[in-house]
Symmetry: C2
Subunit: 463 residues, 2 copies
C-alpha cells in the first residue's frame, strides 16, 4: 500500500469511524464477487458509510486522492459491474437503508439506496399500492443497484424497467458533491433529465443514494395460463391480440422453445407436461387485472384464440398451487448452474424477428458444434431473449467462441447484446456489437464531463 493510499485510509477512518472502513483480512469475501462468477482482486478497502454525507465524504476524499471507487449494492449482478478489479475502494450502500416516506396522494415512496427491492415491494403493498419492478433477486438486490443497472425482470411488459419507476433521485458525484433532484412530479420539463443519465450507467457517473419511486395501483387479480402454439408468428399475434383486449393488464408473456420447456418440466416437481403431446412453442401468460372477475375474461380471450388456431392448447391454473407449478417450469433457470455448465445470454431483438433469430442461431450452433445443447426462452413482450448453452455439451469450446457466434448474429439483426443484465466487465469487449463509434464517443464525452478523473467504477461498462 502506497503512503498516499495509507493516508487516504486514515482520513476515511477519521471521517467515518473505524467500524466503517475495512481493510486486509477484515474484508469479508462477499464484497469480492457477484452472481456473475467473474473473478475479482482484493480491494484496498471496503467502506460502509451510514449516511449520504458519509458517501459524499468518501467521494471527496477519494477524488482528492484520485482513488478508484466501486459502488456496491446487493451484489446480485450478472455482469461483474460491482466487483473490485484493481486497487479499488469498494463503497457499499448496505447501511444506507430505509423507507423515508410514502406519499399516498402523490403515489410515491422516498427510499434510501441500500433498501432491498423486496422491502420496497412489501411497503408499497402495505400502503395499498404496488411497486412494479420485480426480479428473482428481490430479497438481496438493492434499489440503488436496480436503478444503477436499470433492472428489468418479469413485469417489464406491464410497467417498464427500473428507468420508468423513478420520479426523483439523489446522486453523489465523483467529486463528492450531492446532486439532489428529489422531484415527486410526473411532469417536470426543466432542462436535461439527469435522472435518466445515471439510471443504467452502472456506477460510472455517480453513486445513487436516494430515490423517489413511483407507486402504481395494486392489481387484485392474477391469472396464469400455459399455452401451446404452432409457431413464433402465432406468439406475436397472440401477444398483440391480448394487449388489444387487456392493455397493460398482460402481466407476463414468457415464451419457451421446446428444448427449454422440456428441461423445465424435467426439473419441476411434477416432472410431466400439463399437455398430452409436445408442441412447437409454449407461452406462459399472466393476466394481471384490477378487478377480480375470477379469471373469466382471460379464459374467454384464450378460448377465442384456441378457436382461431393461434393457440393449439391452453391450461389455466385453477389454484395458487397450479400457478406455482406452471411458473416452476419457467423458473427452471435457477437449476441451470446445478445441472449444466451454463453459458448464458441476455439479448434483445425486434420482436417480430426473434423467431427467425432463434432458428438461425440454432443452425449456427449446430453447424459448428453438432453436440451442442441450447435452451431458448425469454420475455418476448419486452423483446428480450435468453439463451443458455450447456458448456458440457461442447467440450473444448470456450465461452468466448459462443459469445462471438451469438453477438455477431445479434449485430446482424440490429439487436442488443444486453437486454437487462447490463455490460459490467462481462460484455465490455462486445459493446461495439450494439453501439456505434459515435455512440461510444458520446458516452466517453459524458463520462469525462462528470468524472474527469475516471475514479468511478473504472474498467466497467465503457471500453
Amino acid at each position: 500500500m502506497s503512503s498516499i493510499t495509507k493516508g487516504l485510509i486514515e482520513a476515511l477512518v477519521a471521517a467515518l469511524g473505524a467500524d466503517s472502513v475495512r481493510t486486509g483480512e477484515a474484508i469479508e469475501p462477499r464484497y469480492l464477487g457477484d452472481w456473475s462468477g467473474q473473478s475479482s482482486v482484493n480491494p484496498v478497502a471496503v467502506v460502509l458509510p451510514r449516511s449520504i454525507e458519509g458517501v459524499a465524504t468518501v467521494m471527496r476524499l477519494c477524488h482528492a486522492a484520485r482513488q478508484s471507487v466501486v459502488p456496491q449494492g446487493g451484489l446480485t449482478g450478472l455482469a461483474g459491474g460491482a466487483i473490485p478489479t484493481g486497487a479499488d475502494i469498494c463503497l457499499s450502500l448496505e447501511r444506507l437503508t430505509g423507507i423515508e416516506e410514502i406519499d399516498r396522494a402523490a403515489a410515491t415512496m422516498t427510499v434510501l439506496a441500500g433498501t432491498t427491492l423486496q422491502t420496497v415491494q412489501e411497503a408499497a403493498q402495505e400502503a395499498g399500492f404496488e411497486f412494479a419492478l420485480d426480479l428473482g433477486a428481490r430479497g438481496s438486490c438493492q434499489i440503488g443497484g436496480n436503478l444503477a443497472t436499470n433492472a428489468g425482470g418479469i413485469r417489464v411488459i406491464q410497467s417498464g424497467t427500473a428507468r420508468d419507476q423513478v420520479l426523483g433521485m439523489e446522486v453523489v458525484l465523483a467529486d463528492g458533491s450531492v446532486l439532489s433532484s428529489l422531484s415527486k412530479m410526473v411532469k417536470n420539463n426543466t432542462g436535461y433529465d439527469l435522472r435518466q443519465l445515471f439510471i443504467g450507467s452502472e456506477g460510472t457517473l455517480g453513486i445513487i443514494t436516494r430515490a423517489v419511486l413511483r407507486l402504481g395501483p395494486r392489481r387484485s387479480s392474477r391469472n396464469t395460463a400455459l399455452c401451446a402454439l404452432p409457431d413464433y408468428d402465432s406468439a406475436v399475434r397472440l401477444l398483440r391480440s391480448l394487449q388489444a383486449r387487456f392493455g397493460n393488464e398482460v402481466g407476463a408473456f414468457e415464451i419457451m422453445w421446446p428444448d427449454f420447456f422440456e428441461f423445465g418440466v424435467s426439473i419441476s416437481r411434477t416432472t410431466h407436461s400439463p399437455f398430452q403431446q409436445a408442441y412447437p412453442l409454449y407461452a406462459l401468460i399472466e393476466h394481471a387485472g384490477f378487478v377480480d372477475d375470477g379469471g373469466g375474461r382471460f379464459a374467454e380471450a384464450l378460448g377465442v384464440e384456441l378457436e382461431s388456431g393461434v393457440l393449439l392448447d391452453a391450461v389455466i391454473a385453477q389454484s395458487q398451487a397450479e400457478t406455482h407449478a406452471l411458473w416452476e417450469i419457467r423458473e427452471a433457470t435457477a437449476e441451470f448452474p446445478v445441472k449444466l455448465e451454463p453459458i448464458n445470454f441476455d439479448v434483445s431483438l425486434p420482436i417480430g424477428e426473434i423467431g427467425h433469430f432463434v432458428d438461425t442461431c440454432r443452425q449456427d450452433f449446430a453447424a459448428r458444434w453438432p453436440s451442442h445443447r441450447g435452451f431458448f426462452f425469454g420475455h418476448i413482450g419486452d423483446s428480450n431473449l435468453h439463451i443458455t448453452v450447456d458448456g458440457c455439451s461442447i467440450p473444448g469450446v470456450s465461452s468466448e467462441d459462443v459469445d462471438h457466434v451469438v453477438y455477431s448474429l445479434v449485430q446482424q439483426y440490429r439487436g442488443s447484446i444486453s437486454a437487462e443484465h447490463g455490460i459490467g466487465i462481462l460484455k465490455r469487449p462486445f459493446l461495439g456489437y450494439s453501439r456505434s463509434e459515435t455512440e461510444l464517443t458520446c458516452m466517453q464525452a459524458i463520462k469525462q464531463a462528470l468524472d474527469s478523473r475516471g475514479i468511478l467504477n473504472p474498467g466497467k461498462l465503457l471500453p
Copy 2:
C-alpha cells in the same frame, strides 16, 4: 453580414441548393416566432434540408464557422425555445417528413422528425394501434419538436410524456456527426441512455432527425364525465380510487377550480353549467378502455363515489356531442388570448399539495392585487397545474411581478416551474427556482461535452 458568414451561406447554397437556403427578404415571417409571442430578431438565414445528410452538412459547416443554429419544428412552442434571438441560422426540419416504417410485430413506427403529430397519430390508428401522445397543437407541431421538448398534454396520466414513447432515436450532433440509436427494443441495457438526454434538451445538445416510436394497443371505448367535488382532497381520493379500479384506463383527470369552470362555461356554446348549482371543484374525467362495455363500469364506479360522498354530482356524456360539450369547457383555454391578456403558468407540484398551493397562491395574489382575476386548472393526475392571470385585471403590474410570486411559491413547495412547456427563453431567468446549483453545473458540463462551441440553440434553456 461578415465575410465569414457570407462564405458560410455560399457553402450552404452549394451543398443544399439555392432553394434550401433563404436569406434577407426571402425569409418568411413564420420562421421568426412561435406560440409564445416572445420577440425574436431576423436570422442570418433559414435552411431547409431535405435529408439527414443535409442536416449533417449544415451542422458540419456551421460548426466549422462557429455559427449558431436554432433548430425549428412546427413552431408551436410556448417558451420561445425555437425562435432566433441573435445572428442565428434557423434549421427547419419541415422538409424531413414521412413515416418510414410501421413494424406491427414490434409495435413501432419509424418516422422523420418533421412529420406532424397528427400524421403520426393517424398512421398509428390506420395500422390498428394508438400513438399515446396528444396535445392541442397536433396538426402543426412536429414529432421532432415534441421529443426535443418532451411534450406532455392530456394523456400523460395514461401513457407518460413524449419521453416514454421513444425506443430509438437518431440525432445530428453539433459537429455534424450522426448519432444513430434506432433501436426497436423495449429492453436495451448497453450503456448510457443517450436518447433520454436529448429528449427535453430543447435543441441545445443535438438535432433529432428520426425516431422509433412505441405504439400501443388502440382503446376502443372512451367515456367522459364531468364531476362536482366538495374539495381538493376528494379529488385526490377520487383519482386514486379510479386508478385502483381501472389502472391506466383512467384516460384524463382534469381539475377545474370554480373561476376557471365558470369562464369555461361562459364561453362554451351551451353557456350554462350542466349542474343545477355551483360547486367547490370540478373534474373532467375520461375512462379509456380496451373493451366497449357501453360505459357501464365507469358509471358504476362514479355511482360508488357519489354514495361515499367523494363526489357531490356527476354528469356522464351520452353521445359524442355531449362529450364535446363537456370538453369545450376545459378547452376554453383557447379563448384566453381573445378574451383576456393572459399571463400563463405551467407548473407542477406534488399531487397532494396542489390544493393548498392554489389556496396560498390565490391569497398571495389577493394580498398584492385585490382586483386580480385568476384561473386555476390542470392535469392533476400528472401533477400539472396551469394558472392564468388576466393582465387586464391588474393594470400596471408586469408579468415578471406575477412570475416572481408564482415561482417563489413553486420553489417553496418544491415544485417545477415548467411541467410541460419547457424553459426556452421565457423561463430561463427562473430555472434556479427549480434546479439546484449542482444540477445546473451538471447540465453545463454535459452541454460543454456535446457542444463545446456552444452553437446549438444558444441563449435557450441553460442560464
